[in-house]
Symmetry: C2
Subunit: 451 residues, 2 copies
């Protein structure tokens, strides 16, 4: 039996899949935060490349992947679909467990799937410099390589506390030529105003977004980029699921359940939307599970509302499941899942009952991660351990019920840069975070005032 | 054009290649250090698994890979052969540059190729526990996963200074369940005797070997393992070159030159011996280059002598190019290349004129590594940057001479765990190490007294 199902480079999809085309209830539009009117897409042009704005609002089902991007995808794509035989054996489950290994990307995660086209479209428009923010650094690392390939300058505003605590990701970005700035910095008005009040401020993703957006708007020939949440990012990530579909076909199986960990939604949507398509259009019987951290449960315990995408409140208002834009997630090691809201497409699909959610406590995710490392060899990223834990749950249920079941999950990245998290786990110092109803009740109520 | 040349799992070789079968001048035998007589292989049985001793002295050309090992190789093998189109373009060279990407292994390097069979043969013999030493930690990490898969206990003696400076690799080993001991330790007589004299001793590979061997010999059902230098390790690594041969055939090219970085010889031999075979047997016109650090130039500036494999002088005497077993290599970042001698097979082949050597200063290797990262996406291990620098040299020569040439090198591992080395380079704090003739002259002269 084959352990891995591989595709050839000719099998790299020629189009990304836009699920909006197949949704009966389209996502509600973003609103201008001042006027509360529907946002005019051209208002975004000082911030994002035009082609990306077009993709953001597109209702076309298939959007062509430019040849230049497909060529670069060949560096590591198609990624392997792997049968987790070692894990199955350890669990003694009749279930067949498959995972899509996005960790083989040179930056170590799925983020490069969107970083390359984002850099490409900016380059095509004549943009010279990009800005972005990064927390743990997965997105910043991916965009650093993408900018390097297309000869674009890049300023990454990295949350100051991560800049100190995650030196390896900072060094990766610098090796690929990016200018990495600890945020808040004195390079922007936003940063300076915060430092004036609080010189010791250790930063937040919200502040870093403010700095990156300001630098893009004020910079010459400069645009901002974002690594999750937005529709065009999710679009680019569907390449994961499109490849997986072909690979499952080669394996002669179809997944009963598709699982992705959930932060803003990019890797979850990437693996699941091409499968969900058949549920939307042909009524295919397939379950899709978003594996959230129990400490940041936007889909299961958040409200569906218009809310800001950032902490400070600078972005358009987005219709989404949210814990409130000022929700302060616990300091879990899965930094990429510490986000208050879900992307608008996922939110609408969840509202319409197409998505299941599983909330997983931190200790359970690392237990799953270590079991995976010892049976499959790969040490998974703390984010990805959420998907593994959920897959293990499903495999154990299959064992209890004595039914064969096919489980597919996305291994969004490896954890070699996150070893300190494993160290904390192994030394017994890791804790779970309990979230009270009071913590949750802080969400703002904007939607009800509007619709 | 395909960027990567992939093989299917059925193409994983069924045999390893033992070049000794094709050598006209066989390597000289190891000697018992006390009697200076030819060593009796059975003397090694308290230290190594019997099957590995058999392989160590085998003259058979092909040695079968056990099915269980081939199954585990499927986790990441066959590895891709990649056309370095980005690097070629940046160099403006007419040369075709290919690299074999061993960095896709879950432990990040080629070391797993030998760790799995070593763990397997020990398991088959009923051994319960393994010991080994590790410096930078590549070998220790590989053996940790291999031991975990076969349910063997493992004690890794990690040089104390690395234990502190390379925490990520220590954490990887622990995640895979290994017991990692900072050496010198108080768990062995060797360690205790050193600590008694010098409680602050920061350790060395030589001391760690002493501890690991002692622990194996004294432990119940315990054996020692080594990650390079020895013939059986080199045998296992030939899977790299055997796959590459098939892949070059698919590419429709044959390499004019094959390059590997050189520490003890395992990855260099792994990529080159299957090609060198055709030079030995059919007179094929092919060049093979060992890329050494200029600060540890055993092949180019060492002497061919009988010397100890370890610093302290506990191992059998091996016939090899050596800088002297007490040679103290400069503290370069390519920790895996800081070894005083070359394996006996490579040494004999070099003596017979089959191997070219290139010595590369540290700064040049990191310059090559960063160029590679920016053009091919992958941040290479500091060891592998030596092979890249040598390949770049050859590609530039091809450009000067205006000739097309096909270059193949082994990318032995990625550098994501070695980012602090890149940080030192990028911040301008890295230096080269000049080695004087006096440094070199320290080699002992044992061989001449014997032959």
């Amino acid at each position: 039996m084959n352990k891995k199902i591989l595709l050839s480079e000719n099998d790299i999809p020629k189009n990304w899949y836009n699920i909006v085309a197949d949704m009966e209830n389209k996502p509600l539009p973003p609103l201008n935060p001042q006027t509360k009117e529907v946002l005019n897409p051209s208002d975004l042009e000082p911030v994002f490349a035009k082609e990306l704005i077009k993709q953001e609002i597109s209702q076309e089902r298939w959007i062509e992947i430019p040849d230049e991007v497909r060529e670069l995808y060949k560096i590591w794509r198609p990624t392997p679909l792997v049968r987790a035989t070692g894990l199955e054996k350890a669990l003694g489950t009749p279930a067949h467990i498959y995972f899509k290994n996005e960790g083989v990307s040179p930056v170590g995660s799925h983020k490069l799937n969107s970083a390359l086209p984002q850099a490409y479209y900016n380059k095509m428009q004549g943009i010279k410099r990009l800005t972005t923010e990064t927390g743990a650094g997965q997105w910043g690392a991916a965009l650093s390589f993408a900018s390097s390939v297309f000869g674009l300058g890049l300023d990454v505003y990295m949350v100051k506390v991560s800049y100190g605590q995650k030196p390896y990701r900072r060094m990766m970005m610098q090796t690929w030529g990016a200018n990495v700035v600890a945020s808040p910095s004195n390079t922007t008005d936003s940063g300076r105003s915060i430092l004036a009040k609080d010189p010791e401020n250790s930063g937040s993703l919200g502040i870093a977004i403010s700095e990156a957006v300001e630098a893009a708007v004020k910079g010459e020939n400069t645009r901002y980029t974002l690594g999750s949440v937005l529709n065009h990012v999710i679009l680019h990530q569907t390449i994961i699921g499109l490849e997986s579909e072909k690979q499952m076909e080669i394996a002669g199986e179809y997944p009963d359940v598709v699982i992705g960990c959930f932060g803003g939604g990019s890797n979850f949507s990437g693996i699941s939307f091409p499968f969900l398509r058949h549920k939307l259009t042909d009524g295919k019987d397939i379950r899709v599970i978003a594996a959230e951290p129990a400490s940041c449960p936007k889909l299961s315990r958040g409200k569906f509302e218009y809310d800001f995408g950032d902490t400070v409140g600078l972005t358009p208002l987005l219709p989404m499941y949210t814990l409130g834009h000022d929700f302060q997630p616990a300091d879990i090691h899965a930094g990429g899942l510490r986000y208050h809201g879900a992307g608008t497409i996922v939110s609408q699909l969840h509202r319409d009952g197409f998505i299941e959610v599983q909330d997983i406590p931190q200790l359970e995710t690392f237990e799953a991660g270590q079991l995976f490392a010892n049976t499959e060899g790969i040490i998974p990223a703390p984010e990805s351990t959420h998907a593994i834990a959920s897959a293990i749950c499903e495999a154990k249920k299959a064992k209890e019920e004595g039914v064969q079941k096919t489980i597919l999950f996305n291994l969004s990245g490896h954890g070699l840069i996150d070893m300190t998290a494993y160290d904390t786990y192994l030394s017994g110092k890791m804790t779970n975070y309990k979230l009270t109803d009071e913590d949750i009740a802080k969400t703002t109520d904007i939607l009800e005032k509007l619709v």
